[in-house]
Symmetry: C2
Subunit: 449 residues, 2 copies
């Protein structure tokens, strides 16, 4: 009989625990230590709750602590792990030691908080947990007028729109020339236009140097474009792994403080890690990356459970986590924006010789009612003609077309293979060449020039 | 200098001609013989024109005969080819002989007209060309009350809905137990429910034995469920290759009278063929199939042009047509219906040992407003765990998810690989597991049972 302790009860941790419970005989113990009060919730849904599309945080919870307990998991909320003692095989918590035979670290990610004057003031919030979301909602209910979002990552942009939905003035400050740095500037321009059309003020090429504070509360954001009034500041600068426990326990950290794991998510002797806290491998470049997304967390939770069960039962693991291709999507200001694979710079950094083409097409056949424009950017490697990346921006029915591109990337297809794919066509769904194929033809035109 | 003659001016023929014109020096002649008055039109758009969503047939025309002429193509409308004399290298037409050095047959497909009593009556129409669509519209304008669609292929169903949109009563007669025989019965049931909800009468397990005729005009359809009154009958029994010219010229015909071609679309000495008239290879089973779709026609038109240009210029062809995976999609009665790969029976016929699972999921995260159900059916091969086929039915944002499945099929992925794909996720676009992955997990559960 073994005792498995999981630190963290959101996507990765709860998935690992649930899969372990299903797979292992009852004599094994599965304990989850969650420092908050929530489990298995959709962090990605927080902006829609703050914006009012989702009525209650409870709706974001896929499985409550009580439901986990009914499934045979010893789920303990309000317990904060403070250290991992690998010699004694004990998790030290604010409520005493918890011994483990196998340990899973699923502590998630935390918003980047730059070391700027005033950063600790009240009203400067990151948005990573339901409690963070509640803080934003509480702030909104005190009737603020101006929200400033520092940085323009996905969560930052989604929160800016949520605040506008709630009647606030929103300003986004971004130090690059276009918002959403994980997309190419050509696509970012469309996002910038949509933000301005939605009434969000966007300051690009603008750096943030500090915050003005009064009575311990933020009153403004100091930027290279002057001081912006702010009753509420949201940090949209991305996240890093919440890995201090792992670091202090001597585990190896990689990109953005994420924990280095193997393909079975093993981080060390009897220790595994999963979710927003771990480092992933980019399947195209082979390089390490940090990507905090629920999709990876759920898969990794499954892989961890399989690895530990195999270890305890003396079997070979069935699953391994193959890495990611950095697929992402958002709906923002009436646009759908999606990406997969490498961008121009990341492709060059990985040693490819990228050729980039952009294609304009429509979401339905041009002659159908409601036809709306869509832009597809594609990046391929010149010598091998291999597909490296795709980015899409457009109206409805644009974004999810990224999935075929992500699959083609993963399979190592050349742009020529993409053109010959048998993709779905009927007039209500596009033109006879799928948007991704239109872009592939544009790339081929450049390659064959 | 060579003269290339193309018989047929729609998708495949016009694409071949346009690509040849761009690729070849001016001294080569490109002639297109089109028996009708239209070129490069979207046959798939006809139901939406008949139904009133598209105002005019002109909107379906991507490039008119005059535009083709301005691009340097000798495009001749109203010229019907009646024979191919391979010894003399001449196309015999109703307006005299046209000599060729290289010939492309792009004569398209024709609706199946079963040899039943009364089949030649006025008012019994197939819908394959703009002229066919105009005949249906003319018939509708004579104020008919009852339309009967015999068979429930895509075009038949789309036309049934178009007629309901125009205020007619529509009945669909299908001899199988569920409509749309290219999808599995579990998915077909959803289609049947949607048809009935839309007010279309659906008679399944019903055979058609003939037509009642008065004054040369159809008045009813005789079926195993009795005689159905009909002012207008639409044939929805699928199509066969319009290949009599090719057959009479001694070219090999395959499935459903389609012309047998190699991967460069060559049908014989100095003769190529493309589009709805040719036989394709199913990339999963390796078996020959006939699939009349604009997507294939456009690709094949490109491949033909590349092959002939290479032949004339003494180069190696760059392109080949790799075959299809039978991807198809339609929007029908507020449903999106799509499919790719093999069905249960076609999988068994091809020597696979299929396992089938069905998953119920939603088009957006369950907690988002507007969440609507979606059903994904997946078929995999038991011993190899290879993905064989996927079928989807659901509300908006359901159908196009088939593209990732089609790409995964083409790449030969196993269901285990599908689960680990990095597909797009955000709450407005689905749950953390993409619908195709939910189905893959259901298949794996069965495989690992």
């Amino acid at each position: 009989m073994a005792r498995i302790v999981v630190i963290g009860g959101d996507a990765a941790g709860a998935t690992a625990a649930a899969n372990l419970r299903r797979r292992l005989p009852d004599e094994h113990e599965v304990i989850v230590l969650e420092r908050g009060q929530w489990t298995s919730y959709s962090a990605c849904g927080i902006p829609y709750w703050v914006g009012g599309e989702v009525r209650s945080a409870l709706e974001l919870v896929a499985r409550s602590p009580q439901e986990h307990r009914e499934n045979g998991i010893d789920l303990r909320t309000g317990v904060e792990a403070t250290a991992i003692d690998r010699d004694r095989k004990v998790v030290v918590t604010d409520q005493g030691d918890v011994a483990y035979d196998r340990l899973v670290i699923a502590t998630g990610a935390e918003p980047v908080r730059p070391d700027l004057p005033g950063i600790t003031a009240d009203g400067i919030l990151g948005v990573q947990s339901i409690d963070d979301g509640q803080q934003v909602l509480d702030a909104i209910h005190t009737d603020p007028r101006h929200v400033v979002v520092v940085g323009s990552g996905y969560i930052g942009l989604e929160m800016a729109e949520a605040c506008v939905n709630r009647g606030l003035d929103a300003t986004v400050v971004e130090r690059s020339e276009t918002p959403l740095r994980v997309i190419e500037p050509q696509i970012g321009e469309h996002v910038a236009d949509a933000m301005r059309a939605r009434g969000i003020e966007l300051l690009t090429s603008t750096t943030t140097s500090g915050f003005t504070v009064s009575d311990g509360k933020v009153t403004g954001v100091e930027t290279s474009a002057g001081t912006l009034p702010a009753d509420l500041v949201i940090l949209g600068l991305g996240v890093t792994g919440r890995s201090s426990l792992a670091r202090d326990a001597g585990l190896a950290l990689g990109v953005k403080d994420s924990i280095v794991v193997d393909q079975h998510m093993r981080a060390g002797d009897d220790i595994w890690a999963a979710g927003d806290v771990v480092q992933c491998t980019d399947r195209i470049s082979g390089l390490p990356v940090h990507a905090a997304l629920g999709t990876h967390a759920n898969k990794q939770g499954m892989v961890v459970a399989d690895a530990i069960a195999a270890d305890l039962l003396g079997e070979q693991p069935r699953l391994s986590f193959p890495g990611i291709v950095r697929t992402a999507i958002t709906r923002f200001c009436a646009l759908e924006i999606s990406r997969t694979g490498l961008g121009g710079q990341t492709a060059r950094d990985a040693g490819f010789d990228p050729v980039v083409a952009t294609a304009e097409t429509t979401n339905v056949a041009g002659y159908m009612p409601g036809a709306a424009p869509m832009t597809v950017l594609m990046i391929a490697d010149r010598p091998s003609r291999r597909l490296l990346g795709v980015q899409i921006v457009g109206a409805e029915d644009a974004g999810l077309r990224i999935d075929a591109a992500a699959t083609a990337l993963t399979a190592g297809m050349r742009v020529d293979d993409v053109v010959m794919l048998d993709l779905a066509y009927a007039p209500p769904f596009g033109s006879v060449w799928s948007p991704v194929q239109v872009a592939a033809r544009a790339v081929i035109k450049q390659l064959d020039r």
